[in-house]
């Protein structure tokens, strides 16, 4: 019998990660849906699609409590909801034994209120065993839609193309019908259009810029502008403006392998400011070069 920290196949660690996330959810009384990766239905998967982290979705109203519970059981916060992406949808955590996890408090692309969207996915969820533990997974059409919305954030990437092929291009009529019904129910039109290369049809939607920057790239300043434009209220927009240049303390701690000092945070604040300006210049220069070459 050997305690091991090495030579564990990535898939084994991923399955163990899902089982651990499930255990904590059961003891916390949180509903949990396991999405993508090893939880993905075989009909939508393809070789190499397993991913590198265990992805789960919780009701947004339970998300902070669940992340706090995970931290009590050995998970270390790598990036909180606000700092992980421009959609502010997931927190990244790492466990010494069970690898990386992404805890989603909503899935980017569902414009319906996050708790309502979760309730909709929960209504017809299925169950599978992962590492011997019974885990809830979204229905097949919901899994297909999750893959499509994920692909919509990077439609040119090789993985995204394969996901679109499995979840949409080669889907039968029934599956397409059910996916489209969910797009309606969850108001997922913008992300869905992005996955199928039709994003510009939604240029008048407040979250259009967010999807444009996510799927086609842009400077940090453009990303923040898009986040502010997509904010649901003026108050939320103001909060984002104030937060735009604040330092991601969790990320800094992870990079430096220690809690950052006050001086580290001040230095990083100015470094971020410098990076944002350089990034904007580079983006403008690149676009000018493309225009001149055309």
């Amino acid at each position: 019998m050997v305690a091991t920290a090495v030579d564990v196949p990535p898939r084994v660690r991923l399955e163990m990660g899902h089982a651990h996330l499930q255990w904590v959810a059961e003891h916390q009384g949180t509903r949990l849906l396991h999405i993508k990766g090893v939880a993905l239905d075989k009909r939508l998967s393809w070789p190499g699609r397993e991913g590198t982290d265990a992805d789960v979705l919780v009701p947004a109203s339970d998300a902070d409590g669940y992340v706090a519970a995970l931290q009590r059981y050995g998970w270390v916060l790598g990036s909180d909801f606000k700092n992980n992406s421009s959609f502010e949808h997931a927190a990244a955590l790492r466990h010494l034994d069970f690898g990386w996890a992404d805890v989603h408090r909503y899935f980017p692309g569902f414009s319906t209120a996050p708790d309502k969207a979760f309730d909709r996915l929960w209504r017809d969820h299925g169950q599978i065993f992962i590492a011997g533990r019974l885990c809830a997974v979204p229905s097949l059409p919901a899994q297909a839609l999750v893959l499509l919305l994920h692909a919509g954030r990077s439609p040119g990437a090789a993985n995204a193309k394969q996901d679109v092929e499995r979840s949409w291009d080669s889907a039968d009529e029934d599956l397409r019908h059910d996916v489209l019904a969910l797009v309606e129910e969850l108001d997922a039109h913008v992300g869905f259009a992005s996955a199928l290369g039709d994003l510009d049809a939604y240029h008048d939607r407040p979250d259009y810029e967010l999807w444009r920057v996510a799927s086609r790239g842009g400077s940090r300043l453009e990303e923040w502008r898009a986040r502010i434009k997509a904010a649901p209220t003026r108050r939320a927009a103001l909060t984002l403006v104030l937060r735009a240049l604040l330092v991601n303390v969790e990320h800094l701690a992870m990079v430096r392998s220690r809690p950052p000092t006050r001086r580290d945070i001040v230095m990083e604040f100015f470094a971020r400011l410098g990076r944002a300006v350089r990034d904007e210049w580079r983006t403008r220069r690149r676009r000018r070069q493309v225009r001149e070459a055309a």
Partner: protein
């Protein structure tokens, strides 16, 4: 004759079993040979691996029949020569929470 089962809070991954994430969990049968099995008692862990004969004994302990006789057949040994070792190992698995004695 004691019988054993896997504890409820034991996470188990039997490597190379196709569809382990999609279908109902099954105990590997003899055709699975002595593939490694990865175990973790939740929530504390750690992640452990049983390989070779260790994995075989862990699986056989969950089956009906006499454990020592079954293991002896699979490893082509005389039951009396391996009894003490097998029973001692199973007790170690129980002590570590990797097996549980089944009532009845």
């Amino acid at each position: 004759m004691p019988h054993y089962e896997r504890p409820r809070d034991l996470a188990v991954v039997e490597q190379l079993l196709q569809g382990s994430a999609q279908g109902p969990l099954r105990v590997a049968d003899d055709s699975d040979g002595i593939r490694p099995v990865y175990l973790a008692t939740l929530p504390a862990g750690p992640l452990l691996v049983l390989e070779g004969t260790s994995a075989l004994i862990w699986r056989q302990a969950q089956r009906d029949g006499d454990l020592v006789t079954n293991v002896a057949q699979l490893v082509h040994e005389d039951p009396t020569s391996i009894r003490a070792e097998v029973e001692h190992f199973v007790e170690a698995l129980v002590a570590r929470g990797l097996l549980e004695r089944r009532e009845g």
